[in-house]
């Protein structure tokens, strides 16, 4: 069997595009609006999210046969919350400025439906490695959307990428203006809408 056909690989690759959590399941939109004004914050958020989904799925899947059914949600949430706090602590210690900009949104990963959704629907019924890849894929699929939206918003809204100006001064001298609208939340809605359209029409073909 080829690598690309194996269930483990498919668990990783499907949520990237074909079953993207943001595009297809419309989950995690709230944070996708909030942290995509700059590429820096979007990438850090994507990494934090991928870390949490991957390891929460792995942990919960490893314990899936011993978790008592009636308290499974409490156990899932304890695992997820611990991982999120861990990620937040690391950010505070090593990326203080970015963690200040992300403010509450790292903590809000706990309530991101993607994490809980993967734990409930996938990790509880699949072996650890495959669940880990599924979490990795879902985090990366979410991150991919975040980074794409942030790229467009930062480029058009501030003329910058990663905080460095990329639109040459000559453009501004000739009357080019940054699109202030791109800095606001509605712009993220419109971009995500257009991306969903693009993704749907690509997938049909």
């Amino acid at each position: 069997m080829k690598l690309t056909q194996s269930p483990t690989f498919r668990a990783f690759s499907e949520p990237l595009a074909k079953n993207n959590p943001v595009f297809i399941q419309s989950l995690g939109i709230c944070s996708a609006l909030a942290v995509t004004v700059q590429l820096n914050t979007a990438i850090v958020m994507a990494l934090a999210m991928t870390f949490v989904t991957a390891f929460s799925s792995l942990t919960i899947s490893a314990m899936r046969n011993v978790i008592p059914r009636n308290v499974r949600m409490i156990v899932e949430l304890s695992v997820i919350a611990s991982l999120v706090i861990l990620a937040d602590e690391v950010l505070r210690a090593f990326f203080y400025d970015i963690s200040k900009q992300l403010s509450v949104f790292v903590g809000l990963i706990i309530t991101n439906c993607i994490v809980m959704g993967r734990a409930e629907t996938y990790a509880l019924g699949n072996p650890p490695l495959r669940s880990f890849m599924d979490g990795l894929g879902n985090g990366a699929g979410y991150g991919l959307v975040l980074v794409t939206v942030a790229f467009i918003r930062e480029l058009l809204g501030a003329g910058k990428l990663f905080g460095f100006s990329v639109v040459p001064q000559a453009f501004y001298d000739h009357g080019y203006l940054n699109m202030g609208f791109m800095q606001l939340a509605p712009a993220a809605f419109i971009i995500i809408g257009l991306l969903v359209w693009l993704q749907k029409s690509l997938m049909k073909g």
């Binding site: 304890s78 919350a81 861990l86 690391v90 505070r92 210690a93 203080y96 200040k100 905080g163 939340a185």
Partner: protein
């Protein structure tokens, strides 16, 4: 064991493991976090006197160096006398931006009420005792996007050059207008107000009150600066 006690035992075990893990992480990273907070505070002191540009990030060592070279912190007692170094509970802390052994500005710590919690920052006044040199915020709990805009450069830049005295030279404090200064404030008072944030009227109101309180507390010191050049005591 019954189902119920299995569940309870399992959750207790999970809680214990998670708790231990997080305690370990929090203790292990504590020192780094405290250093970050200290540097962030130094950065905001520098920002309030215009020595640090938020658009051009600097390395931690650079900030610490700059802070050591140009800022000194003392205290001021109730009569406006400057006491070198960190002194008792009676005195108010104050920092100075020192240029050529002379204070070029003095920096007041702001601890104001906000909508959801305290707003902490710095307000710097030029050595004339009348003009605001800058304002910065390092800690607040205001709503992101609304009151939270107080931490953004566009809002803080508006403070530069505003006056804490009115046209006759009497104390007036500096406040946040409800809306644009040019629309909301009478012409002769416009120098005492900065543009407000739409959707954050209450944050503006509380911060206006907080700034006035701080400025009143330090008024004896401001009066000294208005009267003429102030020299700093030795040591500290």
């Amino acid at each position: 064991m019954s189902d119920q006690s299995t569940s309870i035992a399992f959750t207790v075990a999970i809680a214990l493991v998670c708790g231990l893990l997080l305690t370990g992480a929090a203790t292990g990273l504590k020192e780094r976090k405290l250093r970050n907070v200290a540097v962030d505070r130094q950065k905001n002191i520098l920002k309030s006197v215009g020595l640090f540009d938020p658009d051009r990030p600097a390395a931690v060592a650079q900030i610490e160096q700059l802070y050591q070279d140009s800022i000194r912190c003392d205290a001021v007692d109730g009569t406006g006398r400057i006491v070198a170094g960190d002194s008792g509970a009676e005195a108010l802390p104050v920092c100075f931006y020192v240029k050529g052994n002379q204070p070029a500005a003095y920096i007041l710590p702001v601890d104001s009420r906000g909508l959801w919690g305290r707003i902490r920052g710095y307000l710097a006044i030029e050595k004339d005792g009348k003009t605001v040199a800058g304002f910065s915020v390092y800690n607040h709990n205001e709503t992101p996007g609304l009151g939270g805009e107080i931490e953004k450069p566009w809002f803080q830049k508006n403070f530069v050059g505003k006056r804490i005295v009115d046209e006759t030279g009497a104390f007036a404090a500096v406040g946040i207008a409800k809306g644009k200064v040019t629309d909301a404030i009478a012409a002769d008072r416009q120098a005492n107000y900065v543009d407000g944030i739409s959707g954050a009227t209450l944050t503006g109101k509380f911060l206006t009150g907080g700034l006035k309180e701080v400025l009143l507390d330090y008024e004896p010191l401001s009066e000294q600066f208005r009267a003429g050049p102030v020299s700093l005591p030795a040591g500290g």
